[in-house]
């Protein structure tokens, strides 16, 4: 059997699992609730007549980033907790035995699982994110300066986290892999905020916490890039210039090409480690 066919078969199977196990309907329901709540909130903001146009842009940018953070969190939780059961859960329960005894390469099987999760996770954040942007436009008339870049970075953040979850699920139990992946995601976000506070205080030592954590796990870096693309350029000035660095829902600068390249290398590296670990695993 060709490797491509195996990869596509397993990816399709993973997506079917997500839909049959009611992950898809549950996520859809959650998203609708979040969209409705934010729609109501933005509607209230639009009804507020005391705000200047600059303040409205700032508030819209912050609120949009906040809601997007909610979506990225749902995607993070969703994919991290899907990766565990679908990979280590299958090897633990024995489902993988019959599948891997077929003429398939383990790396192709792993790539198929990963691809299925990527389609699922990125599909979710892009669709939910786009719906959110449309709601914001309909209520307050704000449209992010580079929506496509922002959604792509949000998707990239999901890919980074689920690749980590895939690696973890090849070495630890399904439950632990989800917990550790989400824990690391949260810790990196907090470290990013701490680093921002350090920067605003001019303390290099504290600022380095954010820089290092962003290198070790690029989720927070990509998230900051996404925020920058979602927010209006005037928002930073409106918020008070450098003060904005310490604020978790505004981002000071767009991502550099070097950082994006690092994120791509990081994903390739972690996937390689996951494949090496999975290839060596005794089932």
């Amino acid at each position: 059997m060709t490797t491509t066919r195996t990869v596509l078969t397993i990816a399709a199977l993973t997506l079917r699992e997500a839909s049959r196990r009611r992950v898809l309907p549950a996520l859809a329901a959650l998203t609708v609730v979040l969209l409705a709540l934010s729609g109501w909130g933005f509607g209230r903001l639009a009804a507020e007549t005391t705000l200047t146009s600059g303040e409205t842009l700032l508030t819209s940018s912050i609120l949009l980033n906040l809601v997007m953070f909610g979506f990225s969190l749902i995607a993070a939780l969703g994919t991290a907790f899907l990766a565990g059961p679908t990979l280590s859960g299958e090897t633990e329960s024995g489902i993988a035995l019959a599948v891997l005894a077929r003429p398939v390469r383990r790396s192709a099987f792993l790539l198929g699982k990963w691809l299925g999760l990527v389609v699922f996770g990125t599909g979710f954040v892009v669709l939910a994110g786009l719906a959110q942007c449309l709601i914001v436009r309909a209520t307050v008339g704000y449209w992010p300066p580079s929506t496509a870049t922002a959604l792509a970075l949000l998707a990239a953040q999901t890919v980074v986290l689920l690749t980590l979850a895939v690696l973890l699920s090849t070495v630890i139990s399904p439950m632990a892999s989800g917990v550790v992946a989400v824990g690391l995601f949260g810790a990196t976000w907090v470290a990013g905020v701490v680093g921002g506070v350090g920067e605003s205080l001019g303390n290099d030592g504290i600022a380095r916490v954010g820089t290092v954590s962003r290198m070790l796990l690029p989720t927070d870096g990509l998230w900051r890039g996404a925020m920058h693309a979602f927010q209006d350029p005037s928002a930073l000035v409106e918020f008070g210039g450098t003060e904005a660095v310490a604020f978790p829902f505004l981002s000071e600068a767009p991502l550099t090409a070097a950082y994006l390249a690092w994120a791509a290398v990081w994903v390739a590296m972690i996937w390689g480690l996951a494949a090496a670990s999975f290839l060596r695993k005794d089932l």
């Binding site: 059997m1 195996t6 199977l13 049959r20 035995l97 891997l100 060596r280 005794d282 089932l283």
Partner: protein, 333 residues
């Protein structure tokens, strides 16, 4: 393009030699379904499999027997590339097992049989057919489900199946992609007597269709009925292997004796392993050429023993297996 053989007369001779070689290769018997040599596996410090070599010929049914933890499932998993051997080589249907393509014509029912609970039985079969890269018509897949008694449940989710039904589905999965080798690891562990009889019939049918079967089972009667050859594992090693006739060729003698002197007892022990229950003695006869029993009786009578009954018997596979496992008799036949 011109034919090089037209310009070069030696090329004609080369062609003829090549054709002859091709004929010779074609006339060779097909490679065994399973060939493995020197398989070894350790989990930490504990050796699970030590130097196991075995062969399953095409169309042959081979039983793998042994106590719990003897290494049977580990050997099977190493054959299928599910567990990495520390040492040793495996060939499946003439191809090295390091290449996944060697498993294209191999069906497998794992000891731990679990299938995607969110798929229907028919979908599980379709998935496995796709993974082999083969095309099997839907009707043939359905026939496979009928064969294991699941045709009525083809559209039902596997999640709602009982253990026995899941094992039946596993059997269908092993058979669906037209295998030339089927490896069944405890195929009847969750089945009722009717299901066991079905499995026996399926194995016999596979054999008559030229499909090789490696059968790991605790049910010795089952193995005795369907297997051409048996490999007995003990402590991760091959303790005995051979055809049933070879393994069970050993006979035993049951005797009812009284007035046994120490010399008569020694004579009895010299014949073979002796088990005693009161006045009843069971002697295993090793390498009997037809004279052992009359000679033994003559000597016992001469040594003063009173012989009440002499009953020659053939050892059963179960007794042979227990004998090997209890005494750790590692001699290979």
């Amino acid at each position: 393009m011109t034919d090089p053989s037209a310009a070069d007369p030696t090329a004609v001779g080369n062609d003829a030699a090549r054709r002859e070689a091709a004929h010779l290769v074609a006339a060779l018997p097909p490679a065994p379904a399973v060939w493995c040599s020197g398989l070894r596996k350790r989990y930490g410090r504990r050796p699970a499999v030590e130097d196991v070599s075995l062969v399953v010929g095409r169309g042959e049914v081979v039983g793998l027997l042994g106590a719990n933890g003897a290494g049977k499932t580990t050997v099977i998993k190493m054959l299928l590339g599910l567990v990495r051997p520390d040492a040793g080589e495996v060939m499946l249907l003439g191809q090295t097992a390091a290449d996944p393509a060697a498993r294209a014509r191999v069906g497998y029912l794992p000891e731990l049989f679990r299938y995607q609970p969110w798929l229907s039985a028919a979908e599980v079969l379709t998935l496995h057919v796709r993974l082999t890269g083969d095309e099997v018509p839907a009707q043939e897949q359905h026939d496979c489900l009928s064969l294991v008694g699941l045709s009525e449940r083809a559209r039902d989710r596997v999640g709602g199946f009982s253990k026995g039904m899941q094992q039946r589905l596993g059997l269908a999965v092993a058979l669906v992609a037209r295998p030339e080798l089927v490896i069944l690891d405890e195929p009847t562990s969750a089945l009722d007597p009717l299901g066991r009889a079905d499995v026996r019939d399926i194995v016999l049918e596979l054999r008559s269709g030229g499909v090789a079967v490696l059968l790991n089972s605790h049910l010795i009667g089952e193995v005795e009925r369907v297997c051409d050859r048996v490999v007995i594992l003990d402590g991760g090693r091959v303790a005995a292997s051979g055809t049933l006739a070879e393994l069970l060729g050993q006979r035993e003698l049951r005797l009812h004796l009284t007035g046994l002197s120490p010399a008569a007892e020694a004579r009895l022990a010299a014949t073979g392993d002796v088990e005693r229950a009161g006045d009843m003695f069971t002697v295993a006869l090793l390498g009997d050429d037809g004279t052992a029993i009359p000679d033994l009786i003559r000597d016992l009578v001469a040594l003063g023993a009173r012989v009440h009954a002499v009953e020659p018997a053939r050892i059963s596979l179960e007794e042979r297996l227990l004998g090997i496992l209890r005494t750790g008799d590692g001699e290979e036949r």
